[in-house]
Symmetry: C2
Subunit: 183 residues, 2 copies
DNA sequence: TCTCGATGAGACAATCGCGTCTCACTTGGG
DNA sequence: CCCAAGTGAGACGCGATTGTCTCATCGAGA
């Protein structure tokens, strides 16, 4: 039987995101495999985390490419980005949580690259007059990550329907909760 | 010498937020006390986490009281809530992200109470026509927690200025990133 | 100054999680 | 049908952590 490596990583990310102290045994059980098998594919906990980081960054950068952030309006770009990132939301929120533990120079290069792209996207939107300038690009970037993580969690525990994931995040991020006059 | 129990808990929360695998020895050193003394006040790691949980919920409920969510417009109530919760933001984000509010499948009762109050607040705002009805109260509640956590972290690493904490969260949550015409 | 309660440091055994190993079982290909 | 590869379950030692203990010290109050 061929082990579905990606499936293992995804379930591990989902678990470790909200329980970073989970044991290797819990990770294995969550993936529906034995602890021995988990060790056969990932030398140890460090290797597992490294694999999670690599896959998460790879998928996030792929999502950034697929979103074609330069084409059309910023709003369209953001909608495409969130749509493209949805399948990787669990991995991405793990990455964000994980990177919060590191200090400055220890942060993965790939993450820095992706982070810069997102930040630049928000700055471009501001320069075009499509995004508010009183909210800094850094904050908008962090808020995007936070909402993606929150959204993934909310879907996972059933507080938000799967098909509403994109809508809830995009609408809140773009328009906020306030009911505007024209609505 | 009287031990400052709350001071110990705050330093523990600050440490565990960054390094959830920190040992009891590290927690004790971070609080400036000996490991034996830490054990004298908190029977074990579980008891320590439980105390953190109780403190966090207590402070959150106090913030909910102080915010007087029923007075004035929903927007004013939300602004007061975020202002009141700022001092506890670190502790709250630790509890939310590390999922310490759950014991197995049982959610802490106090948390359920607080959660229900926040959710009811958003629902009330919708009924008053002040909040959008296409974003569910459950999602707005989760998004609020997520943004508080993200904001606390962004401030801590210097990505957002301390005095901007409230503004960034409230403005994004209420108005979103989109630049509206009247601006 | 004396006393008592609290603390810090360290010793100690017990427990836990990790990494490795063996062994029996299953599965898919030749 | 047979075999090789992969897997699950479990045992094992090791190191780290925990929880408890003792003992010397400190400090506030009598």
């Amino acid at each position: 039987m061929t082990l579905d490596r990606e499936q293992v990583l995804r379930s591990a990310a989902a678990l470790l995101t909200h329980k970073s102290t989970a044991t290797m045994d819990e990770v294995a059980k969550a993936a529906g495999i034995g602890r021995a098998t988990l060790h056969r594919h990932f030398a140890g906990r460090d290797a597992l985390v490294k694999a999670l980081e690599d896959l998460g960054i790879q998928e996030f950068e792929a999502a950034l490419d697929a979103a074609r952030l330069d084409e059309g309006t910023s709003e369209e770009g953001l909608r495409r980005l969130i749509a493209a990132v949805e399948p990787s939301a669990g991995l991405l929120s793990f990455l964000v949580t994980e990177n919060q533990l590191f200090e400055g120079d220890q942060v993965n290069e790939g993450w820095n690259r992706a982070d810069a792209r997102v930040s630049a996207f928000f700055r471009r939107g501001q320069e075009r007059g499509e995004f508010r300038i009183d909210l800094t690009p850094a904050w908008l970037t962090e808020a995007l990550y936070g909402l993606i993580g929150t959204g993934a969690w909310a879907v996972q525990v059933g507080r938000v329907a799967t098909q509403d994931f994109q809508y809830m995040i995009v609408e809140l991020l773009l328009g906020g909760a306030r009911r505007s006059v024209e609505q």
